[in-house]
Amino acid sequence: MNHLTKVQRKRRALRVLGDVYAVLIYTVLYIPVAVMMIFSFNNQRYNYYWNGFTTQWYEKLFNNSAIIDSLWYSVIIAVLSTVISVVVGTLGALGLKRYEFRGKKLVNSMLYIPIIVPEIVLAVALLIIFMTFGFSLGMGSILIGHCTFCIPYAVVTIKGRISGDGNSLEEASMDLGANRMQTFFRVTLPSIMPGVMSAAFLAFTLSIDDVVMSNMLAGAKNSTLPVLILSMNKSGITPDVNALTTLMILAIVAAMLLSGGVKALLARRAKRLEAE
């Protein structure tokens, strides 16, 4: 009785084909990550070939001050540019969504320049401006560079989460006696919080992984981790860097899972409360 018709057989075959294709693509996407992790255990100074298993790089990593210094430099810059771009981006998203003013369309279009134009162009443009006007390069210039591409992403991300139904929530809050400040912190901000969080995550990952802007705008003294890696490229990237970036991706994924887990937990508790 459970004899499949021609149509059903064809559909099933297509479905299997799709699964195989997807697995293939995911494999290609994950190969570089897997290789990076595997070679962090390679017992060979320059990773020219596989020379046996070791965990020594994880131990030695923390003695390599150049790498650790650049990591901290990167982290500080990433945190600062996340904070700046989330604050400016949140306000900007609200302002651009809720108010009509002259030049709004222009600002909206300007936001897409850093997103679409190749990063090298923006980096070079900023470099020229800084050099011409005597602004010395260093953490400040890198920070400005990073914020310049993080802010637009933050605005676009948050704007997508602001409901289109106008200011009715805010109006309700003010109707109930809250002033503008109270309304912002008690009503507006919580309602767009998911957008703000994903904007923060995006800004952080964009900043900490950035090479082009940092490389162009870094002064002579300090360099971010990606810039250091790029400079190591000629002589070969050593396994301790593999070890470090392995730890970093594990930390990022752990943070994601943790926040996802917390969210799920909160949702479950809310559901239970509702049921009671």
Binding site: V33, V35, Y49, I116, V121, N233
Partner: protein, 301 residues
């Protein structure tokens, strides 16, 4: 406020009110982002266009006199070849990303919502790893005494190691794997919006799957396809890290040339002119895009 305000035109009180209720909050919210964009995006962009029309001094300084020298240099055989090569690689990368990414995006979009968002997440995770290290991994895999060559020799497919590294082929592989998500995401979100009943209607009216794809699916997902083109083609045209790492400095693209003009070579006007070329290509594509879709609808994140 009473319903019967008599004022026929906004008096000073009304204007002050409007200032407090609308102008100030608007300024406080949209002000910072507007100023930032003007100061750090628009002005530098205009300035780079200006610099591209200057000329290079003997010591690598900028001589502030109008000149088309840099643009003429772009037409020199050496530079022109690089530009053509970069365009070719960018076109190849874009096509490959579309051809590989479209069925993949379609596959994900046809899954139940929850599962689809998990699959999308699964695409994003590798991209949170340092991009240079991911590129370096391809190098480790394909280097002379690396796993791929070892395997080929072990399997008897080749006698001596094949040189993969520092070739255009490996750079292309790096480009495609690097850009694929930027094609898949916009494709996914347009395909996901495509109503299934439209495909059923087409089938109901006698169209085979191939015809339905050509007449319904493809035209209706065209905005997503064009977003994907923009989001892969333009970065591919300007990126230099892929060619730096996988090309080992032997493979040069526009991005490398621009970077070099601001490094050892020090020819700002030439670097600026190349940047203006990239800007012009970007502007052209965006112009075409805005003919049939809104910029705000481009799925960039």
């Amino acid at each position: 406020m009473s319903g019967k305000t008599k004022a026929k035109r906004p008096g000073p009180g009304m204007r002050r009110r409007n200032l407090r209720r609308n102008t100030l909050p608007a300024l406080a919210q949209a002000g910072p982002v507007s100023v930032w964009m003007i100061v750090f995006v628009t002005l530098p962009t205009l300035f780079i266009i200006y610099i591209s029309f200057m000329s290079r001094g003997v010591f690598g300084d900028v001589v502030y006199e109008f000149s088309l020298e840099s643009y003429q240099t772009l037409l020199d055989a050496t530079y022109f070849k690089v530009i053509l090569k970069s365009l070719r690689v960018a076109v190849f990368t874009t096509m490959a990303c579309l051809v590989i990414g479209y069925p993949f995006a379609y596959y994900i979009a046809r899954k139940p919502r929850e599962q689809a968002s998990r699959l999308i997440m699964l695409i994003m995770i590798p991209f949170w790893t340092n991009s240079l290290m991911r590129l370096n991994s391809w190098l480790l895999l394909f280097q002379t005494s690396g796993p791929v060559n070892n395997f080929l020799q072990w399997a008897g497919l080749t006698d001596s190691p094949i040189t993969f590294i520092y070739t255009d082929g490996l750079v292309a592989l790096g480009m495609v794997t690097n850009m694929l998500p930027f094609a898949v995401l916009p494709l996914y979100s347009t395909i996901e919006k495509l109503e299934k009943s439209l495909l059923e209607a087409s089938s109901d009216l006698g169209a085979s799957p191939a015809k339905t794809f050509m007449r319904i699916t493809l035209p209706l997902t065209f905005p997503g396809i064009f977003s994907a083109i923009i989001l892969t083609f333009i970065p591919a045209l300007g990126i230099y890290t892929v060619s730096d790492i996988l090309g080992g400095g032997k493979v040069l693209y526009i991005g490398n040339i621009i970077k070099n003009q601001f490094g050892q070579i020090r020819n700002w006007p030439l670097g600026a002119a190349l940047s203006v070329l990239l800007l012009a290509i970007t502007a052209l594509l965006i112009f075409i895009y805005t003919r049939f879709a809104k910029l705000e609808d481009m799925e960039v994140v």
